[in-house]
Amino acid sequence: MAGRGSVFWGRTEELRKTVIAGIIGFAVGAVIIFLYGYSPVTAFGALFSGAFGDLYSISESLANAVPLILTALTFAIGFRGGMFNIGAEGQLYLGALAAVTVTLFRLPSAVSFALSLIFAALAGAIWSLPVALLKATRGVHEVISTIMLNWISHFLSFYLIAKILVDPLRGEKTVSIAEGSRFALLVPGTSLSYSLIISIVLAIVIFILLWRTVIGFDIRAMGHNELAATYAGIVKWKIILFVFISGGVTAGIAGAVHVMGRPPTYAVYSGMPAINGLGFEGLAVAMIGRNHPIGIIFAALFFGGLLAGGRTMQIFAQVPLEMVRVVEGIVVLFLAIPELMRLFPFLNKLKTSNLFKARASE
């Protein structure tokens, strides 16, 4: 297999495409901002300084990136296997709540810490099982089943937060994670904790899994060409099960890592304002990161920066931070086009030298 160096070089075309899509996204965002009477220059200036301007900003951006890396991995593993796993949202809620549940048992710190992560991973994996089983046995499209399970988890979590895991002193949140089970802060005074290590380690683990093991090869083969892979003896249902369960593990840990690493409360609030949307953001991160762990880390950093900078933009330029999501959407939309480079000038006849199937071309 090719060494790390050439993997990077081969990715340059994807990188260029991502950059072009990013430029288009920001350009359209700037137009919208301008049409609403704000100044794009002030807005984006605030955005970037809030994202990467100083140590505090960078720390905040990194802290935001931590769960995004993990939920992006969930989607990316699925995508590499030829599947569209968007169940991270529902799985991460349950992962976070699993971590909170472990705290309720008041075990010694180290045990509690480890068990929180383990149970979170388990919760995510269990929630992904129905999707995998339905797909393997009944051929149910995972888009439908994951969306349904996401919403079921949404309401189930509401119930758990309000009735079972509620903090007796403050009814609007769950019990906080015990002090001994929290991640220590990496940079004091910010939100960034050692949970960043977990995310990066898992990204590396997934890289090794997908590109350096047999099962990883099987997964990617199934994603490239299901017929050929099956003919070569790769069993589809095993791949389905593996892909969804590992995706569930990373998503569950995403939830746990968030609740165990986020000052000041280390708890989940009713309505889940902090973790809501992390699954879908992870989706966008995965796509912008071209479904590769390295790309995902950078894309997550970019998104984390957008979120951190978005708040600054809202304060200093009065542009609502949801504009960030608009930009994200446009970037993803343009990344859907495989031949983005050739759109400029797009009146060029698109070449059709061979049948092009709309799968991952990587």
Binding site: M148, I152, F155, F158, Y159, R325, V326, I337, P338, L350
Partner: protein, 299 residues
């Protein structure tokens, strides 16, 4: 319990059925042509917003038209990206969802009412009142539409072209059908129906716009289309089933007797659980157009 009680539930279900059925019927057209639009949720959300704005500017009917137009525009963009630009449909759809979520939230804040924007009473649709509850004219549209679309898809040449393009684009191309144009047209029309449904939610049924007003209904509609096997008549049935549970959830949650026994969260889950069970139970027999999801390239 008397007859009024059941009529009340029935009418409530009809109201809840409308967005699912109209959206599902539109998506059936698009999927028959071969485009799987996962961005329905975003279109619903966006057109709920634009429909509300349109209604406040010019009345309920204008709101509905604006909503449909919004859907048409988004459908056009999505269609262009997925046909002529050979885009990956699932990714494009996700982009639409993100864009819409951001745009609606942005708008809500920009309008100065973070979270919830209630559409003014005089802009709302005038429903037909009956002794048992008010009926929206769109309910009749929601019932008639699947029948009309069924007729078009399976009994006319236009429908044949649409289905051919989804099933075997190469053969359709050889026969002289403009594949990408047909796909583009189908998706845009389908999306405009979704836009209509979105406007219905804000202008007629619920009467307000929030960040979550679509509540997963776009995806429910997708599920309905899937298990209907792209048959609009079954979409009508599926829409009613889902509408029944959706409405039941709201209705049960307001009954004090039930609240003691079943927490509202579990009732709220019911529509999604039911959809999942139905999809799991029925799916084995469904098949999609052979060329769905694959951009068409002329060799």
């Amino acid at each position: 319990m008397n007859i009024d009680f059941f009529w009340g539930i029935f009418i409530g279900s009809l109201h809840a059925m409308v967005p699912i059925t109209i959206t599902g019927t539109g998506e059936t057209i698009g999927e028959s042509a071969g485009l799987f639009n996962i961005g329905l949720e975003g279109i619903l959300l966006l057109s709920a917003m634009t429909g509300a704005l349109g209604a406040e500017a010019g009345g309920a009917l204008v709101g509905l038209i604006v909503g449909a137009a919004t859907g048409f525009t988004i459908g056009l963009i999505f269609g262009l990206i997925c046909t002529y630009f050979r885009g990956v449909q699932l990714i494009g759809g996700v982009g639409i969802n993100l864009f819409s979520a951001g745009m609606v939230a942005f708008w809500l804040i920009h309008l100065g009412v973070p979270g919830h924007h209630a559409v003014a009473e005089e802009s709302r649709m005038v429903d037909i009142s009956t002794p048992y509850g008010s009926l929206s004219p769109l309910i009749f549209v929601a019932i008639a539409l699947p029948i009309i679309v069924y007729f078009i898809l399976f009994r006319t040449r236009l429908g044949l072209k649409i289905r051919a393009v989804g099933e075997n684009p190469q053969a359709a191309d050889v026969a002289g059908i403009k594949v990408n144009l047909t796909r583009l047209f189908s998706t845009a029309v389908g999306a405009s129906l979704t836009g209509l449904a979105g406007a219905y939610i804000s202008v007629d049924w619920i009467g307000s716009v929030t960040k979550e007003i679509s509540a997963g209904r776009g995806f429910i509609a997708l599920a309905t289309v899937v298990f209907s096997g792209l048959n609009p008549l079954l979409v009508l049935l599926g829409g009613f089933i889902f509408g029944f549970f959706d409405n039941l959830a709201v209705w049960i949650a307001t009954m004090p007797a039930v609240q003691k026994v079943v927490p509202w969260q579990f009732v709220a889950m019911a529509p999604y659980v039911v959809t999942l069970l139905i999809v799991a139970g029925v799916i084995g027999r469904v098949r999609f157009p052979a060329a769905m999801g694959i951009p068409y390239e002329r060799e």
